[in-house]
């Protein structure tokens, strides 16, 4: 690994709870997290040094995951009804002598009576002289062929790919590692739409806010490469297209992991070398994963601000069903001489119109966006401690008011005069793989199924089961 010296167990760095809007919350302190795996309703990720994090909802994380073997930078995957955990025995020793091991468990819940790891099996080694350091494993079960592939390695020489047996977790008989990349580490493989993607981390880690970690990608039609970037550069030549880099106070993303939540909803897990909001510690990060022109791109952490909520179906905007109030700036006529001095027209303000609005519940509607107060929504983290994979629940109110968007028991959406924190007023917001958004109430009374904000007609919002193939289910959030 291209890393600075680390002298303590990452988990021990986790001391104080510090709330942050820009990273996972709780005590999400980890380095080199494995891909996030769900087990019996909880989420797990393992890190360098042993152990890892557990979350009940995917937003708030605490230590408690158990992984023996020490070493560095594990990965994990569910195969059938078992979990395969793979790790490097060393932390990337100065001798570059290392080994990758795999082990199984029926459950990742350390309190379960079924929790017992199998004896670790060596699946790859580096002898200290060859151009490879056997650490930093990433594992992928090919969804097309059912074959299991391991990528591993670091800056010392090549990233390699080798095939494992998905039934045993052992090296597939006779398989030889193939060199696929240089000058990177923390690799992982993803298959999508006929392409294999090799994601890897460039830059330096372990130097806090001065770490230069970033995640890049190349793709190939064959799992064994060659992996080329967007300008045709082979990853064996250092190629790679940027996937995730430093954003704001979240410095140095690395160690990509991939989670498909459901069609159209994908997440990438990483660690940030330093979260400036959390003492500059290394923390778990979960971002939406987008696909643009056949390439994966990290979505942005959701920003709390005021938005136009635009339907992808028609391009109209979600709004209160109130009368449009005309504003100044009327038509002056066309083609007529007009020598009046040019001056700005003040925008319509909330105070100009809100007195005309009913005080009780007001229906929601979708209409032409006119930049009016009844069409502007402020979305902020709700004062609620729960969340979902990668984010908290949000409250959505008409800008400048407490009038909140709410789901109704009969599967419609309205606005209520004041936000109460009830579950039907809490909204899950996922950026989808095409960059649009899904907006879902935390729960809908009596619904018995998950519903999302949808366009029933061009002008009629409703709640419906999410369908990624339909623009009725999708929204754009345009910052104002």
């Amino acid at each position: 690994m291209k890393r600075m010296k680390i002298t303590g167990m990452t988990a021990l760095l986790a001391i104080l709870f510090t709330y942050s809007l820009s990273a996972q919350v709780g005590k999400p302190f980890i380095h080199d997290p494995s891909s996030i795996v769900e087990c019996d309703g909880k989420y797990y990720t393992f890190g360098t040094g042993g152990g890892g994090l557990i979350s009940k909802d995917g937003w708030t994380w605490y230590g408690g995951a158990v992984r023996p073997g020490g070493g560095a930078a594990p990965d994990a995957i569910k195969i059938g009804n078992r979990y395969l955990v793979v790790y490097g025995a060393t932390g990337g020793s100065s001798s570059h002598k290392g080994a990758i091991l795999t082990m199984w468990n029926k459950t990742l819940d350390p309190t379960s009576p079924d929790f017992k790891y199998s004896e670790p099996i060596v699946v790859a080694t580096s002898d200290g002289y060859e151009e490879n350091d056997a650490i930093d494993p990433g594992i992928m079960l090919d969804p097309v062929t059912g074959r299991l592939w391991l990528s591993y390695g670091t800056y010392f020489g090549f990233i390699r790919i080798v095939e494992l047996d998905p039934k045993t977790g052992k090296l597939k008989n006779g398989n030889k590692p193939v060199d696929v990349a240089i000058v990177c580490e923390a690799s992982d493989l993803v298959y999508r739409d006929g392409w294999y993607y090799l994601l890897a981390t460039h830059g330096s880690c372990c130097d806090g806010a001065n770490s230069t970690y970033n995640v890049v990608v190349g793709r190939s039609k064959k799992v064994t490469g060659p992996y080329l970037d967007n300008v045709g550069r082979n990853m064996l030549e250092g190629g790679g297209k940027m996937v995730a880099t430093t954003r704001g106070g979240l410095i140095g993303p690395g160690h990509f992991g991939h989670t498909i939540v459901e069609p159209g909803v994908e997440k990438m897990s990483i660690h940030y070398e330093a979260d400036l909001a959390q003492s500059g510690r290394s923390v778990l990060g979960i971002l939406p994963l987008l696909w643009k022109d056949g390439w994966p791109v990290a979505g942005e952490k959701f920003k709390e601000m005021t938005y136009e909520i635009e339907s992808v179906r028609r391009g109209y905007a979600l709004e209160l069903a109130v009368d449009l109030t005309r504003m100044a700036g009327g038509q002056r006529g066309f083609g007529q001489p007009n020598n009046e001095p040019v001056k700005p027209v003040p925008p319509q303000e909330l105070a100009d119109v809100s007195k005309t609005w009913p005080t009780g519940n007001i229906a929601a509607r979708i209409g032409d966006y006119m930049s009016r107060p009844h069409q502007q929504w402020t979305i902020t983290d709700a004062p609620d401690s729960t969340g979902y994979l990668g984010g908290p629940y949000y409250k959505i109110v008409v800008a400048g008011t407490e009038r909140a968007l709410a789901a109704t028991a009969d599967g419609e959406v309205i606005t209520v005069p004041a936000f109460t924190g009830a579950a039907e007023q809490l909204w899950r917001i996922d950026q989808l793989t095409d960059g649009t958004y899904r907006i879902m109430p935390k729960s809908v009374i009596n619904a018995g199924k998950k519903l999302a904000l949808a366009s029933s007609g061009d002008s009629t919002p409703t709640l419906a089961e999410f369908d990624f193939s339909s623009d009725n289910s999708k929204w754009n959030l345009r910052s104002l």
Binding site: K2, G8, G49, G51, P68, G69, Y117, G128, I182, E237
Partner: protein
């Protein structure tokens, strides 16, 4: 660039009842030739000229044994740092100088020898060079010289380089590129402004510095269309 390492991390989880003990590294047989030999990754100096590689990379270089430097991390390689260091630790201020294979020079109190080598790969892996010479691989500064023979004047070409970690490059005594900071060896990571290769001999000098990690570089020329320049030849003199 592998660096020093971590892992003092013997977690308490290993002591959980029922868990297998932390495995020690298994016996790992040595898989290849570990002798300190230049011929594993390089061809030794040959006379005459040689075309660049298939993608235009210049694989033939005169390389000076590494100047030892005390470098903790590569992030110190600011432009000011490397310009000052390469000026101070230069073997000659005459940029038309082309050393000969086996020549000795003194930089500071270090007596260093030139080697004429040809890399067997597109890149020139200086980590392998130090291993072959049984020299320390980290905290090192290298000087590099090669001679390009152009059959005709070539205008609007660009020199390109990738290196781990920082370097400077001169063409016929003029500074062509600087790669500052903690870089990885990435093909075409930096390109020069448009240059002219004169007809006949053109002397390239490079200086490369690296702390931790695998010292490594690659250099080539691209034409106006961004295609590799291959109708040149490379020699040591």
């Amino acid at each position: 660039m592998a660096f020093v390492v971590l892992l003092v991390l013997q977690s308490s989880v290993n002591k959980v009842a029922g868990q297998p003990p932390r495995p020690n590294l298994p016996p790992i047989p040595i898989k290849g030739d570990t002798t300190h030999s230049l011929s594993k990754h390089f061809s030794l100096a040959g006379s005459g000229k040689k075309a660049p590689g298939a993608k235009g990379f210049i694989q033939r270089w005169l390389v000076l044994e590494p100047v030892r430097k005390d470098i903790a991390r590569n992030s110190i390689f600011t432009e000011n740092y490397i310009r000052t260091t390469f000026s101070t630790d230069n073997f000659s201020n005459d940029f038309s100088t082309v050393p000969k294979n086996g020549d000795q020079v003194k930089i500071g109190n270090q007596e260093l020898k030139w080697y004429a080598l040809e890399s067997k790969t597109f890149n020139f892996n200086l980590f392998h060079f130090t291993y072959a010479l049984n020299k320390p691989p980290y905290g090192v500064l290298f000087w590099l010289v090669t001679v390009i023979d152009a059959p005709e004047e070539m205008t609007n070409v660009r020199m390109t380089a990738g290196c781990n970690s920082a370097s400077m490059w001169w063409l016929n005594g003029q500074e062509a590129m600087m790669l500052s900071g903690d870089r990885d060896m990435i093909v075409d990571n930096v390109t020069s402004s448009r240059l002219t290769l004169k007809k006949g001999k053109n002397i390239i000098r490079g200086a490369m510095i690296n702390g931790p990690g695998m010292a490594n570089f690659c250099v080539r020329f691209l034409d106006e269309k961004g295609l590799p320049v291959k109708n040149i030849s490379v020699s040591y003199e």
